[in-house]
Amino acid sequence: MKLEDLKKIREKASKEIELRQKQARVKIVVGMGTSGIAAGAREVLKTLLDEIATRNLTDVMVTQTGEKGLASHEPMIEIYEEGKEVVVYGNIDAEKAKRIIAEHIVNHKPVSEYVIEV
């Protein structure tokens, strides 16, 4: 790899990430660090993916990230939508994840009880 290549990758990656976010109406980011997983994040991720598949939500993408440091609120998920503020949900389990998909993702009504930050 050359130096110019690094710059190119940077530009390309930034664009791709932007594009991916534009193609997807909503991006759901799940905190998948060990604390998150220990508190049940794998089950949350699986539930989200299942719900998205059964409802055939093609404009929703799910990605993962590491821990933010807020262990007491794990598992955490964040919802990114263009033109809207990022919504962070905390202490999520499978049931809550289902409700977030139904209310927030499908019906655009954030579930305020689980919101920990906007």
Partner: protein, 527 residues
Amino acid sequence: MNIVRNHVLISIDAGTLMSGARAVEDALVKEIVKQGLDKEVSVLETGSIGITGRGVILVVYPEGIYYADVTPDDVPELVEEHLLKGRPLTRLILTETPKRTIITKEKTGLLKEQPRIVLKNCGFIDPENIDEYIAAGGYEGIAKVLQTMTSEDVVAEIKSSGLLGRGGAGFPTGMKWDFAIKTPGDEKFVICNADEGEPGTFKDRLILEGDPHKLIEGMLIAGYAIHGTRGFVYIRGEYSLSIERIEKAILDARAYGLLGKNILESNFSFDIVVMKGAGAYVCGEETALIESLEGKRGHPRNKPPFPINAGLWGKPTLVNNVETLANISEIIRNGAEWYKGYGTEKCSGTKVFTILGHVATPGLVETEMGTTLKDIIFEYGGGIKNGKTFKGALVGGAAGAFLGPDMLNVKMDFVNLKEYSAALGSGAILVMNEDTDMVDMLKSVLHFFKHESCGHCVPCRLGTARLVELIDDIAASKAKKEDIDQLLEITRVMKDSSFCPLGQSVTLPVSSALKYFKNEFMSRVTS
């Protein structure tokens, strides 16, 4: 494909179950099938919706209409009117519908703005996607170094940044690098100490799991600076996710030519391998870690020679902690002056603290060096849980010191804490409330040391065993007053005569616990 027109949520919690939520749910599902709506309407169970005392609660989307006190008898009418004909059933609508706007909570606790340098990307980028790291400006540090800086320039920059090693001892990183560059040798190694075992510490794990490329970039820059050829990441065996993520990151970096031969078309070649530990706290000590890397029992070595002169396989070896290395690329990209804008005069930059125990929001915070203990506990940690009062904190891990309430205003950095015979250590802060039994806490600390003493030297092997006997007796109210004095005496001897920092550091928790909470110990012994 089915297009679901309506979602009906049914709240299932203790209250609604008692009011017959299951019967309503059954009736609802049957009625929807009966009226031929099962392809268009879905029924979902949800947890508590936050309304109590109003029986069974249903919410119908997309309208967002709440129904309360629903009984199985209401169901046919509700389904027909609302779901079939689209006319909400006004007689059951909950009038005091909760507002569906988002509550904008005031930022408190760990959500407060933090000056994040090492954890900048943690929890934001996908750690398994190298492109996301690059998009966030990653590998620009090493590019800048290879393009515009000599090894000496890099070392000078790190020196001038005032960065102190974040492994616990706080040794100036630039100075260590300077020794390394001046030591002759055909082959030099960079080891990243990721054997994070200090109780209450998980900052390194967050970096390894959340931003592994940042560590790789830091090691690359260190390798370039000291003319290193190979790097090793020694990770404790329990951190399986960290091992998985860093291994993937290394493969991805190699595929991009960011590790291996002639990196970014320069003359610089460097590669990294991961080494998995097998459960030994003492391997966090750098010479014990090197022994373990070489495939031996992890006993510490005699010092001198220091690893920088004769380390892995006798070659010059630079050992740096994960957090230290995670600072490097940011210092290079933004400059030493920028870095010195954070922290105190003697301790620049930020520090990652873990706030644990009886606080409202346990977790981890990155804040400037020199932030007071009070701010960390009360501003970031959200204060003491359940409105209790602060009794004390164990600061710096098991090999750290207990601090009492009069120490809340102490500024948390390497230099300042030393003045109070405490240590910043790994940055772990274990907070205890008024109900905590301090004898029991010290007992837990001493049991930890006994378990982790490697048995290599007598003072530590026998000392820790004897300390445990004594504290067990004190905790069981079977000890005499002289036993407390003996606790102190043993740790004093261990401090002077133990082979490595493990045995030497037991004096800190013991003497500090007795300094701040002596009364509790005295009340457990007979005179």
